[in-house]
Symmetry: C2
Subunit: 548 residues, 2 copies
């Protein structure tokens, strides 16, 4: 038996973006976990709060072999599952200072900080984690202090970009580390695992810097208050808005728990730099002249319970929208949220505010590389293999096309989906089994107490509403003891339902009278067919039979 050198790579999750929330690297007895984030539910995943990658299945008998957990940056889709992971896996956690800060804000909320073995690393560091030698290198993204990874093992060097773009004029003046990428190329890169999010976007992603000009234009025109909505984790946007406030003689107030927590943490760690006099409390801001105030809040995705959502519906508690307010939605609409974001925008307009959003002014730019940057990355890293990551299948396919355009052989590109086990055996790429599993739904207090089948039940419940038919039958003579009790919800308006109720009652009575003994099924079927015949609808029907 020869001693083959084998590196296994497993992107974990369901049909979501490949390797976005978690990727495992395995060499010999050592496993390295990169990211542990959450996915947001799709529109038809009714009642689901968020989704975590189903790592349980693959790791069930090898959790003790996890030597480390690396977070590439502090966004929820990369760190959001940490509180679940910590219950099962107790490996050292590696993150840059800001990312660690964001992880700690989260762990504090769950009272779990003591359980975590946190290690601060910085871009440029090299750390040995089990069999892996990991080089951390700086990348630009829509959050400061993001890193990509050079993951070396006896099987070969893999470059894992995480989320990245090549911004030449980033807000923190810290560009992506081109030199390190070139150095990897010198060493020889067996495989590149790279972000595909913007694979369908031509050109080069705009620099975060253009937002400054767009903000200036908004600030010049605004006559009343300015409210800027963005993600709580968009630390660099806080700095940009604060700078604009300073330039235009306004004070800034932050509102919403996660935004305030993150701002305080980033300020403490030095990732934002505000003069003391610039930041005021929300309460203070409400008593100042409108044209001297900027508010920053969450709710850029139109979430009904966020501050922006509540302002749009007129149900915010601490303050109301004013007609002279200018609202800036400084973030990208997450695919699937278009309807709720646009509904929120329309409602804000309806209440008299001015609204500035991505379609009409560059108040947000993407944090991900576009096509020309992807090509540059390929030329810088010169990988033997490409595994497009972080994207829906259609984006991965497009990333693969781009790689072919710049000259990569088709057979060196592997478009895979979550759960697909990839092995590099002495430098050769081989696709292995696809592990089952996928999503774990988190809902209310429950992790995993709801699965796809329950979500589908929920969807079907909503489709045509439901009807409960409660029947009391005499044990003595087999006839109804009383008129059936019929309850409905989400089915039809009472005025439309009433005309068919007599028919429904006598239908049930006849069914009971002619029963062959299987009352439950007979009643269910006759109610179902009667309703379909009369209404062309199929509500979900519950039948309860009480024989007394």
């Amino acid at each position: 038996m020869t001693d083959k050198k084998i590196l296994r790579i497993v992107p974990i999750g369901g049909l979501g973006e490949v390797g976005k929330n978690m990727t495992l690297y395995e060499y010999g007895n050592d496993i390295l976990m990169v990211d542990a984030g959450i996915m947001f539910p799709e529109n038809d995943m009714i009642g689901i709060d968020y989704i975590i990658p189903d790592y349980e299945d693959y790791l069930k008998d090898k959790k003790h072999r996890v030597r480390g957990i690396i977070f590439t940056h502090g966004h929820e889709d990369h760190i959001g599952a940490i509180q679940h992971i910590l219950e099962e896996i107790n490996a050292p956690i590696y993150a840059t200072k800001l990312t660690r800060g964001l992880v700690e804000v989260k762990l504090n909320r769950y009272g779990l900080t003591h359980k975590a073995d946190l290690h601060t690393i910085k871009a440029g560091d090299r750390v040995q984690i089990g069999s892996f030698t990991v080089d951390f290198f700086h990348v630009c993204h829509s959050i400061p202090d993001a890193v990509g990874l050079g993951i070396d093992s006896p099987a070969g060097l893999v470059v894992h970009t995480g989320d990245y773009k090549f911004d030449h004029t980033p807000v923190d003046n810290w560009p992506t580390d081109y030199a390190k990428l070139a150095e990897f190329a010198e060493r020889g890169v067996m495989a590149l695992l790279a972000d595909s999010t913007n694979a369908t976007e031509p050109g080069w992603t705009q620099s975060e810097r253009v937002i400054d000009d767009a903000l200036d234009e908004v600030f010049e025109k605004a006559e009343g208050r300015i409210l800027v909505a963005t993600f709580a984790s968009l630390i660099s946007r806080m700095q940009q808005v604060a700078n604009a406030a300073e330039r235009h003689g306004r004070k800034i107030a932050f509102t919403g728990r996660s935004m305030v927590d993150n701002m305080n943490m980033a300020r403490e760690l030095g990732y934002v730099d505000f003069p003391e006099r610039l930041v005021i409390s929300l309460e203070k801001s409400l008593s100042m002249p409108d044209n001297q105030v900027v508010l920053m809040a969450t709710g850029s995705q139109g979430e009904p319970r966020s501050i922006m959502g509540r302002l749009a519906s007129g149900t915010n508690r601490k303050f109301d929208l004013r007609e002279s307010d200018t609202i800036v939605l400084s973030s990208h609409t997450i695919p699937g949220n278009e309807e709720s974001v646009y509904r929120t925008i329309n409602n804000l307009f309806r209440r008299g505010a001015e609204v500035v959003y991505e379609s009409i002014a560059p108040v947000h730019v993407s944090g991900h590389a576009s096509q020309e940057e992807m090509k540059l990355l390929l030329h810088l890293v010169r990988p033997q293999h490409l595994i497009p990551m972080h994207g829906e299948l259609r984006m991965l396919k497009q990333h693969a096309r781009l790689a072919e355009e710049v000259g990569m052989p088709k057979d060196k590109i592997a478009v895979v989906e979550n759960g697909q086990v990839i092995e590099f055996v002495d430098g050769e790429l081989q696709l292995r089994e696809r592990i089952p599993g996928g999503y774990i739904f988190v809902d209310g207090s429950g992790v995993g107490s709801v699965d796809r089948s329950i979500v589908q039940e929920r969807e079907s419940l909503g489709q045509d509403g439901i009807m409960v038919v409660n029947v009391v039958v005499s044990k003595d003579n087999g006839h109804l003891k009383s008129k059936p009790e019929i309850l409905t919800r989400g089915f039809m308006l009472p005025a439309e339902l009433d005309p068919i109720m007599d028919g429904l009652n006598s239908q049930i009575q006849q069914t009971v009278d002619k029963s062959n003994g299987n009352l439950y099924n007979e009643v269910l079927r006759s109610v179902k067919s009667y309703l379909y015949q009369e209404t062309k609808r199929n509500p979900f029907i519950f039948v309860t039979i009480n024989q007394v």
Copy 2:
């Protein structure tokens, strides 16, 4: 009393796009209805098939005053409600030849053709309808034979664009009628009601002609079959695809009832021109070599029950997807459908097909004017007033901004929503009452048997699922006669539910034993609070109490 000349304009509908589905013009005793279309439901309007404008409320006592119904073009959002309207209103219908053809295809399906008093008009015609003198003028749109209207009455001239764009090289070589617009300007236009759909799009909408080049590129690369998905009403796209088939030596087959019906009608009326030998049956196409075939089908919105949806899920009846197939989605994704369209694209890729869609190649262009065209329209028509139409509020606001940029005074622009009654009194714009009403939901066989409240019930049913608690209590001693019967759906997995069932049963028993007489409410409340305490979830709960 002076004799004021008053024109009333009422865009009808709910919170949807203003005047998109129906606009009423009223002068003296005469009412003119422009368009009668349907709206597609939003994602949270569960179980709704489509929505018609609530014209009932405004017209209830004046249906007999409707002197005519004009259809500007043959898309569903402008003609789709005709079968409902005809039951109530029997006025002459005016439409161009193709639009009339599409209306007739629809009426035939409902057996209603005999009820309709159809009049064919053509661009350039002038028709007297009650007090209104209507000039029909040609506009380019994503369907041939579309018209805009010059609606003259003693109160003044109104230009109503309908959906339009200024395509210099349309597929049918028939550009928008600039001369007529200029002629209106000469006569003096009191008000312009204009399409705002693309008010947030800078520049000029691309010509339909660019699709030819994009199709050529697809046809050159494709090694197997080509399947083109689009709307059944996109008549000009049929011609473009057929031309590409001819150029590249392929035959074309149409599949899907509405697509075949529309194609046959358009062919009969001369709106498409295919050589006899070019068009083959679906059956024929399935037995030909893959590289000699193009199929055209519906399903470009990812509808699960459409042919594309079924191909993507592997459940199509007549034929399956093949690995060498190239799929072209030649249509715009309707806002709100992004998730289902992208899911379909991903599934098609997953099954091995190549997929070409709007984000990666110009296989579709918008049928609506962009910002520079909107400005051109304003300069051509030189209206005294602008009422932005056809768009969400955010688009209307942007259209108003553009008009201000080209010099229109702010007080001559009225951004209104559906139901807002507008009056021009001796040429002065005045906003009157806002009429109630909005949507009428159509669901299964029912028109209006479901309203917002029922749709909200459906949404809440899905949220956490439901539980039915059926209790039999002894009349004699007030105690339970048997263990409560508990049914759930969409709530939790049985394995997660089982551990709390004993607790729930004894909770119910205690509640019954300690009852103060209002058993229904007492049981409901105790079950609700027990479930929330144990699961942090709020399923919808039905309680049935049987006292025997």
